[in-house]
């Protein structure tokens, strides 16, 4: 909301509170000031400001209230006039092309001088002819043979609005010779209104908060009106069909009003507040809405009579009938549904309740008699209507957050007064007021000790009552207990314990959060529980980083066809169930992902042209809908991806090699040993995403926990990937974390020296390395501490389908130095077993 400073000053005296200080006070109590837009006022002195300032200042010596005493034709130009202007000091001839001065041209000295905003030579203002807001400096020049060095300003040039059709004509009482900033300089504070503070979406509301925070008194606008016209009774009938939806409806009337422009200062205020001035009737409804927060609606009474066929019109509030339509003020035909509350008459809908009026009963230039509506609507109903029609309006904004029914009557009275002030006419005697569903203003009792226990303060009952009174709560103090009655402009205060919390917020906010002490937690430390899986997950993350991998954090939202790319083209199972998003931002992100592998492959695709070495991992959830369950299963997964160079190339010219299956296996082995998981097995396996000969299932015990391998060439072809093969792995996190151990056995460091030797055996090609290792271990027994494969050799001299595997063997005994004889005995046993079980020969 845009809050002009001068408007606030109508209700609270803030003269001694600088602009910066005022904005700070507002921000601290919850009216966050986003920006301060200067419209004439100077930027506060000092280097440091806590707000963003925009706009234009009007120096006192450059911008003056002046009067035009005569408008004369220009000798050489039809579209220009010469004004004989008095700026209080001297008389000057000023050249202007403003069309709104043409009428005065050649009429001789004006009986009633025109009051204008005058800018002198050297003034900096906005260029009226340039689009947007571009600063320019007034310089002396000749226009069509006439000297020009100063200017009569338009609203655009002064930064009041974008209006540049004519110059500003000030109200007649504007004092000639006064600096313009003193007469109408302003600053507009742009305020973020919190959803629960719609009571402050008006000038009086903002002023009330300032008054409460500063202790300066609040003064209400005078709404005493003279109802001298004919009684309204009998001239309009009113029926409320559903008091739940329409708790109150108030009508008033003014007759014989002239539909004319409002005074200039009103138009300027509306402009600054962000509303376009229209005419005195519409302006009055908007002005009072901005003033009190109560939206109002003006009907042309005569058109209602016409719709009633000359009979007494009847206003009926009811929900729409199926298929009913209404052309709203914005000239759009709206189709209404039976949940939408309407204001109608016997001829049909007049307006969408609390949202927008209809075109037909709109006040026009020829209207004379105005029927004014002030009503209260169910905020949930208005809210639904606004969202269904996607129709945003100032009224809808306020009603959909809740307006107190007491405001209906206050709004109507004040608005009738404003209309009369600005357009004349006679106010009809009495209001038609139906209030079938009165608001009960909660009475809440709270004790000072409870307030202090909640805040950590030491406030006295009197201090608490004083704060609440400033917000217009009626307070009674009885000992420690303050009983409060909610003021009749608020609908956000509840009964009972919630009401106490509501009041606690009011007390603390106005007292000032900066005055509440800061203390460390006093309550006992809750039982400290260890989430073993979370602990292991952190460990795993660190482990993978230690293994040289880069962590990823990825989007959860994707599309089924994107995920299908992880399968070969003729194996794309797209018919799986996804958790679908109802309102996706793009079709590319319309479901929650099912596969962490698919995410990984996309990230590799994105990066493979950017780096010749990628070593990546992600830990995150995938989402699997489960039949019969409302929520999907969120399964935590781990993905690992490797591709490209084993090491980064260096200038020393060693040729780096590309990574292969065993680099991936090394990472996984490193991970498993880091988690202290033994019993890991790798089993050749087929998986549609992977190369059938270069992939494996990873098992812990008997359970498959993951899959790893080289990406299937047909899958790789689905992505724009670089040449080197891509290796990927996918694990379910939970079994991995559950198998991991925080505590494990530490083996004693050997005291006696080990005996090291090599053993090379020739076996058939189809015997796997781990099988050979197993037999060696069996033969070696306890003495054999370690077996490590260090070479695989194939060659003619070994014979067809034979290979030689060479191992480093480490023998050790915990309690003595092994003798050659002992080692030989073990070695021979190993060789014998290898021969018996695998038909292996010792390689000579």
């Amino acid at each position: 909301m845009n809050v002009p400073l001068t408007w606030i000053k109508d209700y609270v005296d803030i003269e001694d509170l600088g602009l910066e200080e005022l904005a700070k006070v507002m921000t601290m109590v919850g009216l966050e000031v986003d920006e301060i837009h200067l419209v004439g006022m100077p930027k506060p002195a000092g280097e440091k400001h806590e707000f963003k300032y925009t706009g234009l200042s009007w120096p006192k010596d450059k911008f003056i209230v002046a009067q035009v005493d005569e408008v004369m034709p220009h000798p050489n130009a039809d579209r220009l006039v010469l004004c004989r202007l008095n700026d209080g000091d001297e008389e000057i001839i000023v050249l202007t092309g403003a069309p709104n001065l043409y009428d005065y041209r050649g009429k001789g000295p004006l009986e009633k001088p025109l009051k204008v905003a005058y800018a002198r030579e050297g003034a900096v203002l906005y260029d009226g002819h340039e689009p947007g807001r571009k600063l320019t400096t007034l310089k002396r020049m000749k226009i069509r043979g006439v000297d020009s060095f100063s200017m009569i300003c338009s609203e655009k040039e002064l930064g009041i609005s974008d209006e540049h059709e004519g110059v500003i004509l000030l109200d007649d009482d504007a004092p000639t010779g006064t600096p313009l900033v003193d007469y109408m300089g302003d600053a507009v504070l742009s305020v973020d209104t919190l959803p629960n503070m719609v009571r402050d979406a008006c000038m009086l509301g903002v002023a009330r908060e300032i008054s409460a925070a500063t202790g300066k008194p609040l003064s209400y606008p005078d709404d005493q009106i003279q109802m001298t016209g004919k009684s309204l009774a009998g001239r309009i009938d009113l029926k409320i069909q559903d008091p739940e939806l329409n708790p109150r409806f108030v009508l008033g009337m003014i007759e014989g009003i002239a539909i004319q422009p409002s005074p200039y200062w009103i138009r300027r205020r509306l402009n600054l507040a962000g509303m376009r001035p229209i005419n005195c009737v519409v302006d009055a409804t908007n002005y009072v809405m901005l003033e009190l927060g109560q939206p109002l609606h003006a009907f042309d009474y005569d058109s209602l009579v016409a719709r009633a066929g000359g009979e007494t019109p009847t206003i009926i509030t009811r929900t729409a009938k199926q298929g009913e339509t209404l052309v709203t003020l914005d000239d759009i035909e709206r189709t209404l549904d039976p949940e939408m509350e309407l204001v109608t008459d016997t001829a049909g809908p007049l307006s969408i309740a609390g949202v927008m009026g209809g075109e037909e009963s709109e006040v026009g230039g020829s209207s004379e008699n105005i029927l004014l509506e002030g009503a209260s609507w169910n905020f949930i109903n208005v809210r639904k209507t606004v969202s269904k029609l996607k129709l945003n309006s100032e009224a809808g904004y306020r009603f959909s957050r809740g307006i107190h029914p007491a405001m209906s009557e206050k709004g109507v009275r004040l608005c009738l007064k404003r209309m009369q002030e600005w357009g004349g006419g006679v106010i009809a005697e009495g209001l038609v007021d139906k209030y079938p569903n009165p608001q009960v203003d909660p009475v809440v009792a709270l004790s000072a000790s409870w307030v202090n226990d909640s805040l950590g303060t030491a406030l006295k009952p009197g201090e608490i009552a004083e704060i609440l009174s400033r917000l217009e709560f009626e307070c009674d103090i009885d000992g420690d207990v303050i009983t409060t009655k909610t003021p009749s402009h608020r609908v956000d205060i509840h009964d009972g314990i919630i009401g106490r919390a509501d009041l606690l917020e009011e007390v603390s906010r106005i007292y000032g959060y900066d005055r509440i002490p800061a203390r460390r937690l006093n309550q006992p430390l809750p039982p400290q529980k260890v989430d073993q899986l979370m602990l292991m997950e952190d460990k795993l993350r660190e482990l993978l980083v230690d293994l040289g991998l880069q962590e990823l954090v990825a989007y959860r939202m994707t599309a089924p066809e994107r995920e299908a790319r992880r399968f070969p083209p003729d194996d794309m199972a797209t018919e799986v169930a996804y958790l679908e998003i109802q309102n996706p931002i793009t079709v590319e992100r319309r479901v929650m992902r099912r596969s962490i592998l698919a995410t990984l492959l996309e990230i590799i695709e994105y990066n493979c042209s950017l780096s010749n070495r990628l070593v990546l991992f992600e830990i995150g959830p995938v989402f699997h809908p489960i039949t019969g369950k409302q929520l999907p299963e969120e399964k935590m997964m781990l993905s690992i991806g490797l591709t490209g160079l084993r090491e980064m190339p260096s200038w020393q010219g060693d040729q780096p090699t590309t990574m292969d299956f065993y680099d991936m296996k090394g990472v996984i082995e490193g991970m498993m040993s880091g988690l202290h998981i033994d019993e890991v097995q790798y089993r050749a396996a087929t998986h549609p995403s992977f190369h059938p000969g270069k992939s494996a299932e990873v098992l812990i015990g008997d359970d498959i926990v993951g899959v790893m391998g080289e990406l299937h060439p047909l899958v790789k072809a689905n992505y724009e990937m670089a040449e080197p093969p891509v290796y990927a792995a996918e694990f379910e996190l939970e079994p991995l974390l559950k198998a991991g151990r925080i505590l494990f056995d530490v083996e004693a460091v050997p005291t006696y020296p080990p005996v090291l030797e090599d053993l090379a055996v020739v076996v058939d090609e189809d015997i796997t390395a781990d099988r050979v290792e197993e037999v060696i271990k069996k033969g070696g027994g306890e003495t054999l501490a370690k077996v490590q494969l260090f070479d695989i050799y194939r060659g003619k001299q070994l014979g067809e389908s034979k290979k030689s595997l060479a191992f480093n063997l480490t023998y050790i005994a915990p309690d003595r130095t092994l003798t050659d004889k002992e080692v030989l005995k073990v070695r021979n046993k190993i060789i014998r077993l290898l021969n018996e079980e695998l038909d292996a020969e010792l390689r000579s």
């Binding site: 950590g456 959060y513 980083v545 990066n607």
Partner: protein, 347 residues
């Protein structure tokens, strides 16, 4: 006697010849050849020893001593020469073995945590020190957990504060904040006291741009107990913020509104980009919003299984992406989830 003098003279000659030859040696590798020639088995001085048998018996001891002296003299001359040459060689080597120290080192590749995980880790550790425990709650939630249990019944105006992704499953949505986790933790713990933090991903319906993201990380803080005060909230969050942003960080709490807390506040920290003088990052205010917080609303306590007449608490929520973005002056929030390796490897 002549024989003796002759022999002595011969020894002197052997010595001077050998020493003269040693002077000529200028390379370390030539020393061995000199040693073979002048101290080796077939060298002249060794020849004297072997010819000793033919000498007069009386002369033998004298000659033996003299020859030994020559041999020792040559040996120590060799040793000295060795030292000199080694020193020369080292000097030369040191003078010539000049590396271009500006050449890059051999690349060592290291792993990294994602920047968001790093920041989250810092936050988790700070709260961990204060006795807070980490919990995780689902990213896909029911409307009840995301809104209703947090004091936002259907059509509540505050629901507008969160632009929500709904799913095609009735009543199921992508959580817009980590606050539903409050209810999960409370229901698990009631009536025990709670000090918990809940990090996690959240999703909001926004147009993707350099400044707005549809997925982002948040941390929720929750304390529940008997007589937990606003002052304790202020103290705890200030302690936290000072550890995260530095002892000297300027902090302020200002009034705000969240449906699930009352009173509610926003905590600002003095802008760490401009130091408080105003810049585009802090929108010229000198302040950056870092977290929202407040005393847990009675309705929320009740939904969580705590009697609001007995228990109170406070909660806070902070966005990780935005504060990380501001901290490192990152130009585009989408970098975090694009996983461009050129971005990630800077952290």
């Amino acid at each position: 006697m002549a024989e003796k003098e002759q022999a002595i003279e011969k020894l002197e000659q052997i010595k001077s010849t050998a020493l003269a030859a040693l002077v000529e040696v200028s390379r370390e590798e030539d020393l061995e050849a000199w040693r073979v020639a002048h101290l080796g088995r077939s060298s002249a001085v060794m020849g004297v020893f072997s010819s000793m048998g033919k000498m007069d018996k009386d002369l033998r001891p004298l000659m033996g001593k003299a020859a030994n002296e020559v041999r020792q003299a040559l040996e120590s001359a060799l040793e000295e020469k060795q030292g000199v040459l080694a020193e020369q060689a080292l000097k030369k080597a040191l003078a010539t073995e000049q590396l271009d120290v500006t050449l890059p080192g051999r690349p060592v590749t290291r792993g990294r945590l994602h920047p968001l995980t790093q920041v989250l880790g810092r936050i988790t550790r700070i709260f961990g020190d204060m006795g807070f425990q980490v919990y995780r709650s689902p990213e896909v939630e029911t409307d009840d957990y995301n809104f209703t249990y947090l004091n936002m019944p259907p059509y509540h105006p505050a629901r507008d504060m969160w632009d929500t992704f709904y799913t095609k499953t009735d009543g199921v949505l992508l959580r817009t904040h980590t606050s539903p986790g409050q209810i999960h933790v409370m229901r698990e713990h009631a009536p025990e006291p709670i000090r918990a933090i809940l990090p996690g991903a959240t999703m909001r319906y926004e147009q993707l741009s350099a400044r707005s993201e549809i997925e982002f990380a948040q941390v929720e803080v929750l304390v529940v107990g008997e007589k937990v005060t606003f002052a304790e909230m202020k103290g705890t969050l200030e302690d936290f913020a000072k550890r995260l942003f530095g002892e000297d960080a300027r902090l302020r709490l200002r009034a705000s509104h969240f449906p699930f807390t009352e009173p509610s506040a926003e905590m600002d920290v003095g802008c760490f980009v401009c130091g408080g003088t105003g810049c585009p990052v802090c929108k010229e205010t000198g302040w950056l919003e870092i977290l929202g917080c407040g005393m847990v609303h009675p309705v929320v306590l009740e939904y969580g299984g705590y009697d609001p007449e007995v228990y109170s608490g406070f909660a806070a929520g902070m966005g990780i992406d935005r504060s990380t973005l501001m901290r490192y002056r990152i130009d585009d929030i989408r970098h975090f989830r694009n996983n461009d390796i050129r971005f990630l490897k800077q952290f």
